[in-house]
Symmetry: C2
Subunit: 443 residues, 2 copies
Amino acid sequence: MADNARIDPRTLKGFRDYPPALAIPRERLMDTIRAVYRGYGYVPIDTPALEYTEILLGKGGEETDKQLFRFNDGGGRDVAMRFDLTVPFARFAAQHIGQLGTPFKRYHLAPVWRGESPQRGRFREFVQCDFDTIGTTSNAADIEVALVIGDLLAALGFERFTVHVNNRMVLNGLLDELGLGDKVGPVLRALDKLAKVGADAVVAEMVERGVEAGAARRVLELAGVEGSNAEILDQLATRFGTNAVAAEGISRLRQLLDVVAASGAPSERYRIDVSIARGLDYYTGTVYETFLDDLVAIGSVCSGGRYDDLASLYTKTRLPGVGASLGLDRLVAAMEQLDLLGDVAERAAVLVVQFAETGLGDYHRLARQLRAAGVEVEVFADPKKVGQQLAYAERRGYRAAIIAGPDEIAEGAVQLKDLRHGTQAKVAEADLVGAVRAVLEGP
Amino acid sequence: MADNARIDPRTLKGFRDYPPALAIPRERLMDTIRAVYRGYGYVPIDTPALEYTEILLGKGGEETDKQLFRFNDGGGRDVAMRFDLTVPFARFAAQHIGQLGTPFKRYHLAPVWRGESPQRGRFREFVQCDFDTIGTTSNAADIEVALVIGDLLAALGFERFTVHVNNRMVLNGLLDELGLGDKVGPVLRALDKLAKVGADAVVAEMVERGVEAGAARRVLELAGVEGSNAEILDQLATRFGTNAVAAEGISRLRQLLDVVAASGAPSERYRIDVSIARGLDYYTGTVYETFLDDLVAIGSVCSGGRYDDLASLYTKTRLPGVGASLGLDRLVAAMEQLDLLGDVAERAAVLVVQFAETGLGDYHRLARQLRAAGVEVEVFADPKKVGQQLAYAERRGYRAAIIAGPDEIAEGAVQLKDLRHGTQAKVAEADLVGAVRAVLEGP
């Protein structure tokens, strides 16, 4: 084809390819995440990438609208690509919960799409890893979510991280008591500036928005509670526990920490943080954010909380629940920065050199024996020079190579090369699986 | 919310949800497929769901165009959702093959979208599982594809299936020799009616389209070759092997079958079938189709072949290759029909009954011990009646339940219930992992 007839190969702005060096660890992480979720009895579901726009937008408003990849399909339907996994889950639950029964614990690992301005490592397509328990208000489900988050980060290879927990009921109870039920939005927006502008400016802003100065000071008092978990619980109980709603929130937080400790999970990783009640509007009870101690700046890598009713837009069946979502691609970026991804560019462990085309039957016979023993094996595609094939194996990060010329095959043996140490030994076929394992598992 | 303000929860025409009963086996199948691909040294890649329409359409023509979910994105770009994994792989290879080097062996499991009329169990969103080796013309790569297909179906639990193989070079060589290089399309379309209308009508149609009667008979002679693999190879060699291109195709087929047999793979599952050269236009060498012996009517579940140049639309780097694609959702439907999916509706093996909320710390301590031993465990969310919790466990297909009231906990013991046999025994905590394993692995 003439050069000028060619199409410039490129991805869309905000989208990216995942070559093996990224796709391999990503796949491994997803396997680990699924295993942790399954370990707690969550089960997978999947939903379509495309939904009716009406379903996705619901009450989501304009900002969400702008982020949608939205169009009319061939049948004239107003459709869009999902922008999260929560809305499709709500729609799914409204349709299927009758058959599935409650409590229903599901996980969903899938890409979502948002047309946001791509920046700071954010892409327009990214994988979310959600898990939720719906159909129960029990604190047991909230506690489990905290345990899952801790297990998840640990299983992914992180040692230094903190799960921040709080309960919206404390703030909600206080605001109710102060008669600020209709001013939650302005109060939270003012509070969010606390670290930047200081307490006095926050009070001033609240007063400007019609909050009495005394009430504003009370809200700030809650926002200022800090210390150890035990100290925070005590202060919350003493200063805010007279309100029944707040007391219930405090009691749930206390039980969460007690059970985490009693379960044997590393309780030093859990911290009550009254500030995280603020950003997560949707939630009504326990809230979670998870920070990597060595990369706090990237923000929470796993967030979630309890909600009163998942699917009220689609069904009158009330579905309270609790869950959280892990952002896979943000986590991969973090692991890249923290050098946790390892240098495993490729996964197959052993290359069988194609010494001569006539040996293919034997090479595949050997490869089958190794695969049956769980070893990943590539038979090289071309009978190139042995040195070229070994260079390929090293570039791919393989640990071992098997070289078998006609003489070795006739003897029922092979040359086994340890690619990390550069050593080589003749091994009888009967001993091959053991010898390969010794190389793979050796230092 | 008032009923009339609710949105009707529904999926788009041609799309479907995957509840756990389908999502669990699907996930397990994908794990198996990835493991087989990795076992041969193929590595994963991923590409965006959305691409420039220009990239996806290439020379694809009108029919493909109609199937596209195509729209203008927020930035005014003409974009579309991928309709297969081959075109994105071609674009990917054109961009990245310089860094990746050849041979490059990749797999890609991902959904694709086509706006076809949904019918006969076909959906507008479905998962394809592709694997390819590019950058080599070696028959070793073709042979490996045949081996992978066989391993794949076996690993997925099929015992009765047949991998049909052929080589386009035999037909291409014959057509060249007959001077029919410019009539390949009409000849193939006529040939496709052979089973329906018989040989004479096919010859008549070819003659009508300007093919000499003698040439038409020769083409039909090739289409009529049948028998055992050895008989077919002999007939092909004797009757068509004088053409160099055809001879090369015959030689490659022979080597494929020889190596499969020598490798120890079940060679009775491989069959030369001259008819499968016809439908697969894109391919230039070895072609593969895979039929389930007990469900031939659903068509090939894994098809592929060798091509001369993957990415000529996007790069002048010539990338010959060979690969195949397994249609996951067609396979799941087949397994459903053949009762191969099993009755495992849920995956967690053990339910810990929530006897009382105060026991949560202990329940989670026990659950952690079991998870550390690789057992999936759910702690029930609510302290409902034990009978209700056990009914939940049975509905979910769990094998065992752990019931631990305050008395048992005080004793350091639990009641372990075998849900399949309805038996129950007191087990010391120290023996719990072993006792649970005995129940899970028992008859």
